[in-house]
Symmetry: C2
Subunit: 238 residues, 2 copies
């Protein structure tokens, strides 16, 4: 399997600090312990600590200032699906409910798929599902997912209501998202989309087409997401 037997030290420290920030142990504007202090606290050397901190910085959770230190930033209050970086999808899971529109089924890939496919992907078909994600009972995302049918036994039998797709992939199949690419457009709502997102016909909708890379070679996850941005914005860092 592709499972790393041991999680790297810098990764562990990253997870710990990330949790502390999100849990509020370190609040907005606080200074993190200095790199040397972290070395002592967690028994690592500075390059290792710095590797963890630089990941936090690229997540936008901290800001580094030469001579001062690392300052907690933690501001994402809008919807943040743009950054699936790190470990979890960045949406605050609090009030996000997921409705399954179409349960996962194994089908051939659609013709003229939004991204080019490899031969292996084409041969093995894809697992298709549709979900609706609601924030405070308002439908926000209409999410169509395509998962390459590569080494994911019994995935169509799983329950996707409560846990997120990525959580299941991580816990049961050790699949992690490493990164990806996306295209963003503003389009008028089709009748289908307006029905799901409870919008008027032709109202502007954000359309995201995403290709996500995983730690499993050859396995990609694709999403076509339609997003009602009337009340909420998509938030991102760069």
């Amino acid at each position: 399997m592709v499972t790393p037997r041991t999680i790297p030290q810098y990764r562990r420290l990253y997870e710990v600090l990330r949790k502390h920030i999100l849990d509020g142990v370190y609040g907005e504007g606080d200074l993190l312990p200095s790199e040397n202090e972290l070395c002592q606290l967690y028994g690592m050397t500075r390059p290792t600590v710095r590797q963890a901190l630089s990941t936090l910085a690229s997540d936008g959770l901290i800001r580094k200032h030469q001579g001062k230190g690392s300052i907690v930033h933690n501001l994402p209050r809008d919807i943040g699906i743009l950054s699936v970086s790190g470990t979890t999808s960045a949406v605050g899971d609090r009030n996000l409910k997921t409705d399954i529109i179409k349960k996962p089924v194994l089908i051939p890939w659609p013709h003229n798929f939004m991204f080019p496919l490899s031969d292996l992907e084409n041969e093995s078909g894809c697992i298709y599902m549709e979900r609706l994600r609601l924030l405070e009972n308002i439908p926000i995302f209409y999410d169509i997912s395509y998962i390459g049918n590569i080494n994911l036994p019994r995935i169509t039998a799983r329950q996707f209501e409560n846990r997120s797709l990525f959580q299941i992939l991580r816990d049961h199949y050790r699949v992690e998202i490493k990164g990806g690419e996306q295209r963003i457009k503003a389009i008028p709502a089709t009748s289908k989309i307006s029905r799901f997102l409870k919008l008027k016909r032709n109202q502007p909708v954000l359309h995201l087409e995403r290709k996500m890379e995983t730690n499993v070679p050859g396995l990609f996850i694709y999403s076509s997401i339609f997003c009602n941005t009337e009340k909420y914005s998509i938030f991102g860092r760069f």
Copy 2:
């Protein structure tokens, strides 16, 4: 001054490799020289080389594979303003023309500005300008910029037609973009926007509100960008 007297080695290597990739010296799918080879070629050590490569990887220009090497990815064919990361705005400068709608002027900040402002910013006002950016003579971006009026002498007198705003800030004021945050929405085109972007009224338009941080403390650059995504998509990596 905030000027680094010497550009770090890893930065120089990053710029060189980036240029080579964008110029096609290394093509899509090619293997970059191995880290050890780059060490020899440029007279650096491996950590330094790796620092350059990891920046390229996060730009999405290469993909690293343990045991194999660094593979050139270079696929951004869509418009890539989402990632101002690195040195230049990521739009291919080839066919991108810029029209000045409103020349830069010093004004007070608008009421109810899209981002909260510091006291210092509020006191000193902002430099305001409007630009229209055309791709193959089709208006794509209607860009409203607000620059904190902090230590940028004579900026309102400069020519913004040819060089990009960020280029001028970098060359003349040594201001570099370090990162930022943004909100994205799909909105119906107002009459003003539809006029500039040559669209029908109420047609969906992508709206980006961005706050960019610089290497100058207290200096932020804000943009409100309206984007015609009928023909082109916004492209991004994560």
